[in-house]
């Protein structure tokens, strides 16, 4: 447990001691802030639905950019060898790096809490969907971080890791909007694979076990995938 936290601390420190964290957070806030507030007053509704509607698409690009270096960099520089000869299990390494990705997602979302707080001053804000939205956002961010981590474990090239991660996340986000491409017999499965609908369910303020199971499954598959790939690399 202690070693897992040590790995996480190191990765989080790496983000915040270099410009990476600040650049990513700024870009995230500018994009989401712009798209959300440019139409906010037109709708004249004290809610955050538009913010959460946009989030999966933005996350699909931003989170793989955060996670792309986690393993690729180690594989590229050879420091992975050192990591494996320290008294650590591969599971602890994967979990520590994943946790760092989740912390980074939290750090991106935290400043956006200013939106609901300011909205609650000017209108009658329903806090249920907002809280649901943030819980959903953390689950979604965690799922994408696990996917990004898997992509990062596959290659020593960070750019490939990013493109691969973003491609998978984008597929998960958009697949349930392309249902007409698929035969009717597998429509149910495809619909279930899509991350967006699960996220929007939670963002409505309804926390259903089906949606929780979905996100936990994606996280588990991503982490297990990363673990397996790294084990094979030895």
């Amino acid at each position: 447990m202690k070693t897992f936290i040590q790995i996480m601390k190191k990765e989080v420190a790496d983000y915040f001691l270099s410009p990476i964290a600040y650049i990513v957070i700024c870009i995230f806030l500018i994009i989401t802030g712009w798209f959300f507030f440019s139409t906010f007053f037109l709708f004249n509704q004290a809610g955050m639905r538009n913010f959460f509607a946009l989030l999966p698409l933005v996350f699909a690009f931003v989170i793989p950019a955060v996670t792309m270096r986690l393993f690729s960099e180690e594989l590229h520089s050879g420091s992975f060898e050192i990591l494996l000869t320290l008294p650590l299990t591969l599971g602890q390494i994967v979990a520590g790096k994943f946790a760092a990705g989740v912390v980074m997602t939290g750090a991106m979302l935290a400043p956006t809490l200013a939106y609901p707080i300011s909205i609650s001053f000017i209108g009658d804000l329903d806090w249920g969907p907002v809280i649901g939205g943030y819980i959903g956002a953390m689950l979604l961010g965690g799922s994408f971080a696990a996917v990004g981590l898997f992509a990062s474990a596959l290659t020593r090239n960070q750019i490939i890791a990013f493109i691969l991660g973003a491609a998978i996340c984008l597929t998960l986000t958009l697949i349930d909007k392309m249902l007409f491409f698929f035969p009717a017999s597998i429509l149910n499965i495809i619909e279930y694979i899509g991350a967006d609908s699960h996220f929007q369910n939670i963002a409505k303020g309804v926390i259903d076990s089906r949606d929780l199971v979905y996100f936990i499954s994606v996280i588990s598959i991503g982490l297990l995938g990363a673990h397996t790939v790294l084990l094979k690399k030895q």
């Binding site: 601390k9 420190a13 790496d14 050879g78 050192i82 000869t85 320290l86 008294p87 650590l88």
Partner: protein
């Protein structure tokens, strides 16, 4: 301390290490020698648990590598070949990070770092980023990294590679100092280094151990002694005839720089006896002038070349 049996490693179909077995006793300093690509690094990587062997077993103390790799990793400090540490981290931050992973309690970390910084000479570079260090300094950070939790066993992969002569002497001294209490295994292809530092030498070629023994014994087991001699007013054939008569001389060969009427010869003698006196007495009876006469020290080089050249 370390028991290795039938250790084998295949990379796809290439056999890098071929059924090697050896035992390392506590407190030994062992030099692993061999030409490039002989399997030194592969052997060390398996000992440190970086990758599993294709076949064979490794036991360290009471632990088996298959079942207790974490316990073994805790006992081993490892300095990899090119010391690829996190380039963007400060030396201080990096060593603190390693201390955390090694399970040193937070209250003891600073004291440990101070001790290691004195031992490895890191005082002036603690607050530099690792990426801007020279090769030698990087290597010292690596040594501190390897000794973080005062491990029982130190495994160093070419610790003096790329260092200047002063740094090499320094690192050697550190290794010898550590070796008084700890077991040290290090690989190198610099023979004089192994000779100067190790109690025991193991020579690996093409994935197999071709020699293994105490440094002194190994040197004595070599090709016998070579005496080098340069004479004036002599003819090689006469010299050869005269010297071959002495009991114990195996071979008399012409050596290269035979100019200005000088004759240079290399005399190979059987290892057990010192023939210098006999040869000198013999020379005295002739009218040759002795210009140069010395016995070459027993070197590992000849043994090494003999064992590893095909």
């Amino acid at each position: 301390m370390i028991y290795v049996e039938n250790l084998t490693k295949y990379y796809d179909h290439f056999c890098a290490v071929d059924r090697i077995s050896f035992v390392v006793r506590k407190g030994e300093i062992i030099g692993l020698l061999g030409p490039n690509g002989a399997g030194k690094t592969t052997t060390l990587k398996m000992l440190t648990g970086y990758f599993p062997p294709s076949d064979g077993t490794i036991r360290v103390g009471d632990y088996n590598m298959n079942d207790h790799s974490l316990a073994i990793k805790q006992m081993i400090g490892y300095l990899p070949e090119s010391s690829p540490f996190y380039k963007t981290m400060l030396v201080y931050d990096y060593l603190m990070h390693v201390a955390g992973i090694r399970g040193i309690p937070p209250s003891g970390r600073l004291a440990r770092l101070k001790y290691l910084s004195d031992l490895c000479g890191l005082k002036d570079i603690m607050h530099k980023t690792i990426g801007e260090l020279s090769k030698g300094l990087n290597q010292r950070v690596g040594l501190a990294h390897a000794m973080m939790n005062d491990p029982e066993i130190l495994i160093l992969d070419e610790p003096t590679q790329g260092l200047d002569p002063n740094q090499i002497v320094e690192i050697r001294n550190i290794i010898r100092r550590i070796g008084r209490e700890k077991t040290v295994i290090f690989s190198t292809h610099i023979l004089s280094e192994a000779e100067a530092t190790c109690d025991r030498i193991m020579i690996i070629n093409r994935g197999r151990i071709v020699a293994d023994g105490d440094t002194k014994d190994l040197k004595l087991s070599g090709q016998g002694t070579v005496i080098h001699m340069t004479l004036k007013n002599a003819v090689f054939d006469d010299v050869k005839k005269t010297l071959t008569d002495i009991a114990g001389v195996e071979k008399v060969e012409k050596a290269d720089p035979a100019d200005n009427g000088l004759v240079s010869v290399n005399i190979t003698c059987r290892a057990e006896n010192d023939l210098r006196e006999l040869i000198y007495q013999k020379i005295k009876t002739t009218d040759w002038t002795l210009m140069d006469f010395h016995q070459e020290a027993h070197t590992l080089e000849a043994i090494f070349r003999n064992l590893t050249c095909q």
